[in-house]
């Protein structure tokens, strides 16, 4: 291990946890104390040298080395097999187009959401995509999402009221990670649509609000079209950033039943149908918001192009799907970024003390 990390000392495990709380190094919940042994074991999850720089995390512009990320992953409760997903997530959010410094500093409530695709959903988790996948109770989803949050705090300086100026925030700031239900996806998986091979694994990051539920009775082809209208209209909530800024990406999460009900699964047509309902009239926006937004044309759509609406399948069958509005701000307009998850023969760490 490189000698770079500072060594902290504490009398007991509980003292160490309290010390880290006082130093602002936690998310408010107790952490696993990152001892050298635990970090060594965590590093066995990736075939990267500890001093490899994954990216720079704003607004503090701290260096996210593999070792520092592993320390935060230990604190989050990750297993070594979760680390490749965490590493990819850090690479995604530190891609300049993600604008992580601004995502952290904005007063908007967004948090990076991570969508995992490919074989890593299984052997790096399993990462849940079914019942309650964005809720509590899924170890890999929670630990991976939390590890990234701790990196944002400790390396990126995203502490509430200083580096993280979200005026309210949302619970996804603890952990916000889901896999796609590729078996029930009527299209190719999200990462393939974004240029990756089907046999590869990848994580897609998006600066997102909390999911908003949509419920539509879906029994006929006509109902399926109403579902897409409802998704579009839900995305175009009059107070949302997306309908005011009209750029970047937004996300629609269809449950497997809704996805199966779509009569025409051509994804471009589905995106077009959502887009055509995802707008507000300029006159109404002007009435509500005055001159605080830049209005264009006679209507403002939530994104610039139908293809900017991301679609995945997740959740359980039944009546509820979700739309996920996004920040919509920043130099690149809050676009999604996808990064590859490095697959490798994970070391056998079964004999290494945990």
């Amino acid at each position: 291990m490189s000698p770079s990390p500072e060594i902290l000392e504490a009398r007991t495990e509980l003292d160490a946890i309290e010390q880290m709380h006082r130093a602002g190094m936690t998310d408010g919940l107790p952490v696993i104390v990152p001892t050298e042994d635990r970090v060594e074991r965590m590093l066995l999850g990736v075939s990267l040298d500890p001093d490899v720089l994954l990216g720079v995390v704003g607004p503090l512009d701290g260096a996210a080395t593999v070792e520092k990320v592993a320390i935060n992953a230990v604190m989050a409760g990750c297993l070594p097999e979760h680390l490749p997903v965490v590493v990819a997530a850090i690479e995604a959010i530190t891609t300049p187009a993600f604008d992580i410094g601004a995502v952290q500093a904005t007063t908007h409530n967004c948090a990076p959401l991570f969508i995992v695709n490919g074989p890593a959903r299984g052997f790096n988790g399993p990462i849940a995509h079914g019942t309650g996948a964005l809720g509590a109770g899924h170890r890999a989803n929670a630990a991976i999402g939390r590890a990234v949050r701790l990196v944002l705090v400790n390396i990126g300086g995203g502490r509430p009221g200083v580096g993280d100026m979200a005026q309210l925030g949302h619970p996804g700031k603890f952990a916000y990670c889901i896999a796609e239900d590729e078996d029930n996806d009527p299209w190719t998986p999200l990462h393939v649509r974004r240029g990756f091979l089907p046999e590869s694994s990848a994580v897609t990051a998006l600066a997102a609000e909390a999911p908003h539920s949509i419920r539509v009775r879906v029994q006929t082809d006509r109902d399926a079209q109403q579902l897409l209208r409802a998704a579009g209209m839900s995305l175009a909530s009059i107070g949302s950033n997306n309908v005011q800024f009209g750029k970047g990406n937004v996300l629609v999460i269809l449950n497997p039943e809704y996805a199966a009900a779509l009569a025409d699964p051509d994804i471009a047509e589905v995106q077009r149908a959502i887009y055509e309902s995802a707008w507000q009239p300029t006159a109404l926006l002007e009435e509500i918001h005055g001159d605080t937004i830049d209005l264009r044309g006679d209507r403002m759509h939530v994104v610039a192009d139908p293809a900017d609406i991301l679609l995945i399948v997740a959740g359980d069958g039944g009546g509820y799907s979700a739309v996920v509005p996004t920040w919509g701000g920043g130099p690149h307009g809050s676009i999604a970024v996808t990064a590859a998850i490095r697959e490798h023969d994970v070391c056998d760490y079964s004999g290494v003390p945990s």
């Binding site: 160490a16 880290m20 607004p59 512009d61 260096a63 601004a102 009221g161 130099p331």
Partner: protein, 182 residues
């Protein structure tokens, strides 16, 4: 027990703004508005106050172009152009998290090119502005605090606030710290 620190290390070295010259009547002065609502009114009012104190001058005015752009830092080319054309730049204003971050980074980029600067940020975002200043490598970059909110005020109120902060802004470009909130 021993534990490893999760904190990141920044490769950026802090370089002090230091003490710089006072505004001279011959200086070329830039007024940068980030296009947050009311920022154009305000920065022009600051220009008016400077003229009251030192006589008429031709300002270099630049606006970012719209509220969506207020969260963006200036491009390297735009910073270079402003630095070529100005000896001093006043920039307004930080009024949210991302736009405060952007405007502090803008004035630091200008100050690093030798321009004397002052950013205006509302007091609600003082912690963010100071944090970003440290992160971006100039923890003492001149900032004058404005009462929050500015955007909801009338143009007359913004002009009144400009009159009250103008002297602080003039002191700030010299590197005078701890200037008062209007």
């Amino acid at each position: 027990m021993k534990l490893l620190s999760p904190a990141g290390i920044s490769a950026i070295t802090d370089v002090s703004y230091g003490a710089r010259a006072a505004l001279d009547p011959g200086d070329r002065v830039g007024l940068l508005a980030n296009s947050f609502p009311g920022s154009v009114d305000f920065i022009r009012a600051v220009g008016t106050e400077l003229e009251k104190r030192q006589g008429r001058r031709d300002f270099v005015f630049r606006e970012k172009g719209g509220i969506r752009e207020s969260t963006l830092t200036l491009s390297v080319g735009a910073v270079d152009t402003l630095a070529d054309r100005c000896d001093v730049v006043f920039a307004a204003y930080g009024h949210c998290g991302s736009c405060s971050s952007a405007i502090v980074r803008d004035v630091i980029a200008l100050a690093q090119r030798g321009v004397r600067v002052c950013a205006f940020v509302t007091d609600e975002f003082a912690d963010t502005a100071l944090f970003v200043a440290r992160s971006a490598g100039m923890s003492d970059v001149p900032i004058v605090w404005l009462p929050h909110p500015m955007a909801a005020r009338s143009a007359a109120e913004r002009a009144d606030i400009a009159s009250r902060v103008a002297d602080s802004a003039l002191a700030a470009i010299e590197g005078v710290r701890d200037v008062a909130v209007a």
